[in-house]
């Protein structure tokens, strides 16, 4: 080993300094054993950056490895920058979802923007051209000015970044629930396209190959961002605002074009985003994947300011940077491509045969770790898991005993209330700030069950969607995990797509608390069951723990990003009713379940009861029946029944598309043994509403596949409104009244609450 020297002026390593770096005593012991000596300050920084939860998955890895990751469609599973699956015709899709929760909690605009930037880079470093962005957002109630400020800032951050880079934002979901007060969730997903033979991996190879730092210069921003994301949010978090990185979508766009040109040029062997923990993480991971040594000279890294120490350069999370391993002798060719895009590329290191991870500052060695120990020696924890008493009590509460409000005698009142609840209401206020049509592939954009993008040069399309009902997961994590996958699958199926594979973003509280780790373990088990049953392997994702504010943990929220493929453009199906006279058929069955429903949350302010049962075999069959009918050309529209139950789903079918509003006359008397509220607003799983010109054929297909199905009504012109016959409490509401409740709710809240705008101004969010 080389002599490692402390830099003059570096702090002395003390137990307090070790603690400040987030290392436990036993973790520090591991470092001492690994090195056989006391680490330098630089080395302590490196370990802290790599062994925090965000980078190391130390609490989640043993559970994650139980997830199914294989299938004939999978080209690249977890472990790379993004997962890759084949969709036929030699075309592959790279996709991944990632969280940026903590930064967004204290600096919503930049937090969300850099979240979008990071996930874009993860996808284009695979050699894929990004073609779509999605985002899955959770906020506290919009009654609160701080939450409105966060919502507005996050939406603007996502929009400004994606719009500028020129990647359409096509889908996602936004949920408002007091459980997310103080700790919003911001998960961004990116989808890219590549030819199967264009795939490149982030694996350092070839002794003597130069390592280059490419893109933006390195500054002091975002140092310890990853470790900040590995602790609970508190009143002191605001002081860590400078740890939030600042995004520059213009540089990102240049980097995107330059990187793709670089990858296709054949001058490089590997490329990786410098994301969380910056240069440290990207170089150590690349070396570990390639099972080679690397040496990095921090004095050669292009910096933004003078006097930066190796510690700062290694841990900076300055955005829009890439680490590239080029072929020896091709450095100038690489520089030329970057220069065309007005970007810099500097050689900062080399792949070496000696199995070490070495950092120098000029000639002085400031850090050195044996082999890939930094990555492989990272601790893994199996911590105790035990369901929290509170969750058990909530689940076991008899929600059927909750008395109806007097107003509920008129179900129209309840329906309109639910349609204007921000979680159900139209999110147009947000998605109209996202360019959703650029690149002209968007066949179905935001507002449908899932987005659909055509694949140029083929007769295929893909369907993408994110989903998770955190309330279900809080009440029963295993069932909730299963439902998250099943609902996402149902959503893409409603557009005519075969569910193909998932990426996931697992947002949970502090894993060292047994009740949180129980949620995590069980939710992953539920995801596993669903992925196995639906043949949708997990191709990657991200875990975000420590989503806790002083008021407690967020709902456990394992967000599923689902990818489906539509084999023929003719099969693309929309969610809203199309033609007067079509028959409305319900695939699946209604049940008495109301536990965990949006109805209970909105009307009774209660999050309790067992969430609806989710039988994956039935889910698979209902999807099979739907796709068979779509392929048979007999489906005019298909819409999943989810939040707010069948009544909300029917209302959406008649008025979600404002350019083609319809009416409907529906008879649900078949289920008159159910209470009105369970029938109308219960959220029984495995249900899809279709409209068809050939009901007998649809019913026959369902029967052959073994799915309960029933003709329940007729599509009417808009003037007829929505009539729902339930036996005891039939009612009628005009389509325009439904539309007003649904479409105006969020604009009304956001545009008539001046305090949120004032907050935005004072916080300097507007850019």
């Amino acid at each position: 080993m080389t002599q490692v020297v402390s830099r003059p002026g570096d702090p002395v390593i003390t137990p307090a300094l070790v603690r400040e770096h987030g290392l436990t005593e036993s973790e520090y012991e591991r470092v001492l054993t690994m090195l056989g000596r006391v680490p330098t300050f630089t080395e302590l920084g490196i370990v802290s950056a790599l062994w925090n939860e965000h980078c190391s998955y130390k609490h989640s890895r043993n559970v994650l490895k139980t997830l199914p990751t294989e299938g004939s469609q999978v080209i690249q599973g977890p472990g790379e920058n993004a997962g890759v699956v084949g969709i036929g015709d030699g075309v592959a899709i790279a996709f991944k979802i990632e969280s940026h929760n903590h930064p967004s909690a204290i600096e919503p605009y930049q937090g969300a923007a850099t979240g979008a930037g990071g996930i874009l880079r993860d996808v284009f470093t695979m050699g894929a051209r990004p073609i779509a962005m999605l985002n899955s957002l959770r906020f506290g109630s919009l009654d609160n000015a701080r939450n409105r400020y966060l919502f507005a800032g996050v939406v603007k951050g996502i929009g400004d970044y994606g719009n500028s880079v020129g990647v359409p934002t096509v889908a996602g979901e936004i949920v408002f629930d007091p459980a997310y007060n103080g700790n919003p969730l911001v998960n961004a997903m990116c989808v890219g396209i590549l030819r199967e033979d264009e795939l490149i991996r982030a694996k350092a190879e070839g002794v003597g190959n130069p390592i280059l730092c490419v893109g933006a210069r390195t500054g002091r921003d975002g140092i310890h961002g990853a470790s900040f994301a590995s602790e609970d949010l508190s009143a002191a978090s605001e002081a860590k605002r400078p740890r939030v990185q600042v995004g520059d979508p213009f540089t990102e766009k240049l980097l995107l074009e330059a990187s793709l040109e670089l990858i296709h040029s054949g001058h490089i062997v590997a490329i990786q985003d410098m994301g969380a923990a910056g240069l440290t993480s990207s170089s150590a991971e690349m070396a570990a994947r390639g099972d080679v040594g690397v040496t990095i000279d921090t004095s050669r890294v292009p910096v933004r300011e003078t006097g930066m120490t190796p510690y700062e350069i290694l841990l900076s999370e300055s955005q829009e940077r890439m680490l590239v391993v080029a072929l020896a002798g091709h450095e100038n060719a690489v520089r030329e491509i970057l220069f065309k895009w007005d970007l810099a590329a500097e050689v900062i290191g080399e792949v070496i045969a000696e199995p070490v991870y070495r950092v120098t500052e000029g000639d002085r060695v400031v850090a050195e770790f044996p082999g890939s120990a930094l990555v492989t020696e990272c601790p893994r924890y199996d911590v105790p898991a035990e369901e929290g008493r509170e969750a058990i009590e909530l689940r076991e509460r008899d929600v059927d005993a909750i008395a109806e409000l007097r107003e509920e005698e008129d179900p129209a009142w309840t329906l309109l209330k639910l349609l204007s609840a921000p979680t159900i209401a139209s999110k147009r206020w947000a998605y109209q700030q996202y360019d959703s049509t650029i690149r002209t592939n968007t066949v179905i954009g935001p507002g449908g069950d899932a987005a659909v993008l055509r694949i140029r040069g083929t007769n295929r399309a893909i369907s993408v969607k994110t989903d998770c009902n955190g309330r279900y997961v809080a009440l029963d994590p295993r069932v909730g995990g299963r439902i998250a996958v099943a609902e996402a699958a149902r959503n893409v199926a409603c557009t005519g797509a075969r569910p193909l594979a998932i990426t996931n973003c697992l947002n949970f509280g502090n894993p060292t608390r047994p009740e949180i780790f129980f949620q995590f373990r069980e939710a992953v088990a539920g995801i596993r069951e669903a992925c196995l049953g639906l043949d949708t392997p997990v191709t990657g994702g991200n875990v975000s723990f420590y989503n806790e504010s002083p008021s407690g943990s967020v709902h456990p929220t394992p967000v599923i990003g689902m990818l489906g493929v539509i084999d023929s453009l003719e099969h693309i199906t929309r969610s809203t009713f199309r033609t007067t006279g079509d028959t409305i058929v319900l695939l699946g069955d209604c049940t008495p379940e109301i536990g965990g429903s949006e109805y209970l949350a909105t009307i009774h302010g209660t999050s309790a009861g067992a969430p609806p049962a989710c039988d994956i075999r039935r889910e698979r069959l209902v999807i099979e029946a739907l796709l068979e009918a779509i392929r048979g050309g007999v489906i005019a529209s298909a819409h999943d029944c989810s939040d707010g139950g069948i009544a909300v789903a029917l209302a959406e079918c008649v008025m979600a598309n404002q350019d083609g509003m319809m009416g409907a006359d529906v008879d649900l008397a078949e289920w008159d043994r159910l209470t009105t509220r369970a029938l109308l607003f219960g959220e029984a799983q495995g249900r899809i509403l279709v409209s068809t010109g050939d009901a007998p054929r649809v019913l026959q297909i369902a029967d052959e596949i073994g799915v309960p199905a029933r003709a329940i009504g007729t599509v009417m012109p808009m003037v007829s409104g929505l009539t729902l016959r339930t036996g005891a409490r039939s009612f009628h509401v005009g389509t325009e009244a439904l539309a007003a409740a649904y479409h105006e709710a969020i604009p009304h809240i956001m545009d008539t609450a001046p305090q949120s705008a004032a907050l935005e101004q004072s916080e300097g969010v507007s850019v």
Partner: protein, 230 residues
């Protein structure tokens, strides 16, 4: 008819303009790199949408200094067609090809949706495939689309019939309610004094393929093609 689509750093609508010309029309098309001085014999120059130079400083303010703009200006002086879309419209105004300026939307928010625009003058080289008063459905996607100019300029644009499109309702009513970004007189697009430069905020190049949009933007391209056929 050859379409030359200029790519500035930060352009992102170049791809759609290229595919509209090459795929929907089947015309020869080339990307023109902004650092060059060569229009490669293009008959129509497209200044595409996007965020050239990140829209830093001011939308379009830096792109006008790109080397290729010298040739684009000469092309326009010869009376040859320049189609300036969204960020291209902003660049054209900054470069003096068109009067006025595009300011931040009145809502202060980016707006992305399909809007209705009314054809105000079907006599230009970009619009003669439409008819006066025709209502089109075309996507917009911009944060700085509020067209502004002083009263004299607006009066002259009106007098000369140089307002090509105005934002309107689905039935063609032009009112403040349909003014999506606060533009003066709902102006969505104008032509130059010579009639050979069209600047507009909506994206006709995104409205050419029935699979993804109502193909109401085709008329702009067909109008240009008819020139070549003449």
């Amino acid at each position: 008819m050859k379409f030359g689509i200029v790519t500035f750093p930060g352009s992102n609508g170049d791809y759609d303009a290229y595919h509209a010309a090459a795929d929907a029309l089947g015309e020869p098309s080339v990307y023109l790199w902004h650092k060059t001085h060569d229009l490669q014999g293009s008959d129509v120059i497209v200044l595409p949408g996007g965020f050239s130079y990140g829209d830093y400083l001011r939308a379009g303010a830096i792109a006008r200094f790109s080397p290729i703009m010298t040739e684009v200006l000469a092309h326009a002086r010869r009376g040859a067609p320049v189609l300036a879309i969204c960020n291209g419209f902003q660049i054209a105004c900054e470069a003096g090809l068109l009067p006025g300026a595009l300011m931040r939307n009145a809502s202060l928010r980016f707006v992305s949706r399909v809007v209705n625009i009314r054809v105000e003058n079907a006599g230009t080289m970009f619009t003669h495939e439409y008819y006066n008063g025709q209502v089109l459905a075309i996507p917009v996607a911009h944060g700085d689309g509020r067209y502004t100019a002083d009263d004299d300029v607006i009066a002259k644009l009106d007098d000369d019939g140089r307002v090509a499109f105005r934002y309107c309702s689905s039935t063609g009513v032009v009112s403040e309610q349909n003014n999506i970004n606060g533009s003066i007189s709902n102006i969505a697009g104008i032509v130059s004094e010579g009639g050979n430069v069209l600047g507009l905020m909506p994206h006709p190049e995104r409205a050419v393929d029935p699979l993804v949009a109502v193909p109401d933007g085709l008329g702009v391209f067909h109008s240009l093609l008819a020139l070549a056929g003449a």
